[in-house]
Amino acid sequence: MSETVIARPALVSRLFGALRLPINDPFAVAGLVIYAVFVLTAIFADQIAPYDPTEILYTEEFDLAADLRPGEQGFVLGTTSLGRDIFSQIVHGSRSALLIGVTAAFMVALIGSIVGLVSGYFGGWIDALLMRLADIAFGIPFLPFVIVLAAFLEPSIWNVVFAMALVLWRDTGRVIRSQVLTLRSRGYVEAARVAGSSNLKIITRHIAPNILPLSFLYGSIAIGWAILTEASISFLGFGDPSQISWGYMLQDAFASQALAKQAYYWFVPPGICIILVVSAGFFITRGYENILFPKLGR
């Protein structure tokens, strides 16, 4: 594979470098498998789910199909107190999780990378300004901030993603900045500058490709954060009411006394799904860290 990589332009080869699959690490492989199942479930949710997740269902005797245990009347995971199919909700919940995870990760990686690049490359007052902004973002209590913003703006998943991106760029920004600082003084960057390349060209050609793997890494960490945060927000009742998410299911179960009713089949599966997807992200990230930064591998 390496021979073909050399021939490609720097950006493309870097991207492929970042996408190299960590197949030596069994946990990372397990993570990739979980991700694949997760993405496929989200894409084919309509085909997989036997019912509409919000539809109120009735039994064959025309009673409300409420609080049915798993397997009863053919409901794989049982039904909620309002007679909705839990399995269908789980399947559709993967859609919200994927949407939120990917968009939040993209925004966090994008904003963080731009801030880090500009800050590290230009230095001076721009750097001072951006890094003070990062300090401020570190002073904002993350979850309370997202709660207040999600409650004041329209309750939609985009506002949750927006609120997360407003705060979470700080970590990516700082790390990328320090990386850019070391890259800036490298010989080939100096050479490009002496040869008269514009700043834009140096950044896009020589520096950005080298920090891409880091952006990728931080973006993938943000996927887990975003899914956990959305779950918390929905659980507290500030989520998007039109979207079935795993956090919403947990809130529904909690508010409907599922704990007292010992309805484990209702509130355990959404939690397991969140754990699987988020920890899959951790394991993949760890696998990549070992590839990208072999020295850290321990």
């Binding site: 300090d135 401020i136 979850l143 709660i147 207040v148 659980f235 484990y264 939690g271 754990i275």
Partner: protein, 325 residues
């Protein structure tokens, strides 16, 4: 001496961050639906109360003037009147703070004692089957939604086994006299157990992983090799030489963890109906009790910012090689 200078610089920077957060808070609470007065005045307040608040917060004045009045009020600890409780926000917030701090510190102390011991052990047993199995388990606890873990513990230990109460800080009808009496009572501790355990299970991952990786670093250092060459026992080398030095950065992370924990508290307090700052914030936001929500947010932010500062200062103090702070 230049360390002192750096510390002063850091404290000034803290002032800047605090000011910025306060300003963001001001703007955020004027973003919300309704007229600008909605931030402080509930329509059901009496006319006198409304007029008093209008004057106190300058709500009939232009925005920039309101901003300065807001800052002046904040400095004096004046946060307005809660819509629901009809009492000063500052009093209510201060009354809830101890509950949140007790929960936070109890859970973090449990998490750190466990995390440090387990982390040191895993570093010592590096490469063993125990270590191979433990690390993914620890990572999995970090992937758990805290409130979900709370729900599972609640369903098992409270609703099924009936070992612990389902929420609150004390049983109905009990009176423990003063606060100290309450906090040391068996009743309070049994209420504290599940929420503290929930938060501790989530939090132990950070000290554990940190301790482990520090231990691995320290064990490579010359003085540890020296200790081994001297023929000291494995136990003495690991505990007396390596662990003591690996512990310092873990201790500074404690302050950071307090800040993170306060944010996690928001959900866990809600699950266990724990009357703390986080639950109050959630309830206030849902009930559109803006002054109270603002106050609770501010209090959490202040603790987070203070803890970041303490972590930085501790770090510089414990490791003199760090000069930039």
């Amino acid at each position: 001496m230049f360390q002192l200078k750096a510390a002063v610089g850091r404290i000034l920077q803290l002032g800047l961050v605090l000011w910025a957060v306060v300003t963001i808070l001001f703007l955020m609470f004027r973003l919300m639906p309704g007229n600008p007065m909605a931030a402080y005045i509930d329509p059901t307040f009496t006319e006198e109360q409304q007029l008093a608040l209008m004057a106190q917060f300058g709500l009939d004045k232009p925005l920039w003037e309101q901003y300065f009045i807001y800052l002046a009020n904040l400095v004096q600890g004046e946060l307005g009147q809660s819509f629901r409780y009809r009492e000063p926000v500052a009093e209510r917030i201060l009354a809830l703070l101890p509950n949140t701090l007790i929960l936070t510190f109890t859970s973090l102390i449990i998490a750190y004692v466990f995390g440090v011991l387990a982390g040191a052990y895993l570093a010592w047993r590096r490469g063993s089957a125990v270590e191979q199995a433990a690390i993914p388990v620890v990572l999995t606890t970090r992937a758990m939604p805290e409130f979900w873990l709370g729900m599972v513990l609640l369903a098992i230990f409270s609703f099924w086994l009936g070992w612990f109460p389902a929420g609150g800080t004390r049983s109905a009808g009990t009176d423990h006299g003063n606060l100290l009496g309450l906090y040391t009572s068996a009743d309070f501790l049994s209420h504290l157990a599940l929420p503290a355990l929930t938060l501790a299970i989530y939090s132990q991952g950070l000290p554990l992983l940190l301790m482990r990786s520090n231990m691995l670093d320290v064990m490579k250092e010359d003085f540890v090799t020296m200790a081994r060459i001297k023929g000291l026992s494995n136990w003495t080398v690991v505990v007396r030489h390596a662990a003591r030095n690996a512990l310092l950065p873990v201790m500074t992370s404690f302050a950071i963890a307090v800040g993170y924990q306060l944010q996690g508290n928001v959900v866990v307090e809600s699950v266990f109906s724990w009357p703390g700052l986080g639950r109050e914030l959630v309830n206030a936001v849902s009930a559109s009790d803006y002054p109270l929500a603002q106050g609770a947010f501010l209090m959490i932010a202040i603790v987070v910012i203070l803890m970041n500062l303490i972590a930085d200062l501790l770090y510089a103090l414990l490791d003199p090689r760090v000069t930039h702070v």
